[in-house]
Amino acid sequence: MQYIPNILFVIALVLGIGYFTKNVRKLIRNIRLGKDVDRSDNKSERFKHMARIALGQSKMVKRPIAGFLHVIVYVGFIIINIEVLEIIIDGIFGTHRIFAFLGGFYDFLIGSFEILALLVLVSVIVFWARRNILNIARFKSLKGWPKNDGNIILYFEVVLMGLFLTMNAADLQLQELGADHYIKAGAYPVSQFITPIFDGMSQGTVFMIERAAWWLHILGILIFLNYLYFSKHLHILLAFPNTYYANLKPQGQFDNLEAVTNEVKLMMDPSADPFAAAPEGEEEAEPEKFGASDVADLNWVQLLNAYTCTECGRCTSECPANQTGKKLSPRKIMMDTRDRMEEVGKNIDKNGSFVDDGKQLLNDYITAEELWACTSCNACVEACPVSINPLSIIMDMRRYLVMEQSAAPSDLNNMMSNVENNGAPWPFNQMDRLNWSKE
């Protein structure tokens, strides 16, 4: 009978981690719906990029208030996870504060966890106020699920930190009461102020409170872990691969479509036979689709970007089109991409493979009006704290509009026919190019 808690703990752990793993596999499958793009180069530079931007939060602090608070929550999250390791070991083996043998260092650890927990609590409350009370456009514009999602995460963190401190406070009381198992260990700079609440309670009651807080804390963490997949909060994991696989080339360098290069080469080659049949034994290759109208036309890094986006809205607040009232919002581009990817994923779950649902990313999620409002200025790319590139998706979708559908705005069609015929975007004669030198 005495092993029941251990068994329950292991079951909870296996279920929690098992369900999370299942969803991670789904996530990886969905990301792999994207086209291949080679990001296996420059490993050391990629590591540095990741270390600086994800680990070092270098872009977060560009906005000092949000950045500073985020660093606290981030450091708190990582450090307090050392405590979770102890909880897991204790839970499996029925021990209590297994790391207590570390002595003075243990006191230091627990003491710093408590201070961090308090700082996280304060930061999270400020975050909540920023989202719900202060008039911050990038949060105010969120409605429905994205707004609730942001708040749910904050409530989770408040509850988890609260449980952590309650657990420690009750533990301290039990230590002072000399309860069995509760050896004197740890320093409690914060929870010592909660402990007086337990004065006058029986040892049994305090024990129940301590156990309840302990269990709810670890179960809360497992639930939170599984919440990630359904939430914008995936960035706490995906920020690392996302920055690692980010584009390291100059932001102004857009990729040259290889399929087009092949076509152009063929056109330029005087000996090429446009009517040539496919070589013996090879199937006639289906012509590649130019640009993107749905998620499967994007590459896997763009899809990883969509899962990584935490909807902070810095991109949209820097976007010149958005600032001047146009419909384009780079954050919406990323959110739409993820929503459509999830929809396609569920379609695959249901049918085994994707069955046409009569919908696509273009028009059903992102309209041409949004796409044409972009100035390709890269402000969104620069603003993103985790190296997401909304511009690349916009460009790929413009390519589809122009090269597959010939659906450019008429002004642009004029510009392009001028380039084609006169070698300039305006209707001037190429032979007049040097006239400036004679004026």
């Binding site: 080339k249 087009v260 290069t261 001047t324 044409w372 122009v402 090269m403 380039v419 040097l434």
Partner: protein
Amino acid sequence: MAEYMAEGKQPEVLFWVGCAGSFDDRAKKITKAFVKLLHNANVDFAVLGTEESCTGDPAKRAGNEFLFQMQAVTNIEVMNAYEVKKVVTACPHCFNTIKNEYPSLGGDYQVMHHTQFLKSLLEEGRLKVEGGKFKGKRITFHDPCYLGRANNVYEAPRDLLRKLEAELVEMKNCKKKGLCCGAGGAQMFKEPEPGNKDVNIERTEQALETKPDIIAAGCPFCNTMMTDGVKNKEKEDSIEVLDVAELIANAKDL
């Protein structure tokens, strides 16, 4: 360029004039100012003249990769035939395209923006920059997206402006956070989508906040957008929009 080739010589640099620099009345003045500076510094340069064609930037940004690559391949064939090594241009769009997007199509050149090139002439002592009539004037520099964020060139134009002994003032959005003028991504050639303001007006307002005498630009398209913005605010009598090359050439009374 053809003449150099015929004589079996190579110029020091090819000046890529660009469509705006060749055809746009305002941008032609920038072209001429830059050429005066090149002559002044005794730079042996050539232009492609009628053999130059659009780099394909607006086509690519509009989504027409096909047209872009046709333009690119044509230009690359011309430049490779003339064995071009080094290119300078006063247009950040041409600069970005030739520098970043031509290499994988077979066009590898050392490409410089004219502000970078002028700065190198200054450092080599071939060009002298003095304040002249701009001494003590308040100048704010508008970062072109395709020079700044796209290619991380922020200091070359500013270093040149400082040499004018002018008071360089920054807008609230500058360098990495610079706000677009509204022309990029082929927007120059179309009407903007419905909204509550034009991007160039927003940017001009930011520039006016610095109370400048001169708004300095490094891109013919930004120049047009900012000039229109200043006119819209009816400030064209008190505020000039000038390219960095024009400022230096004017200071030297060229």
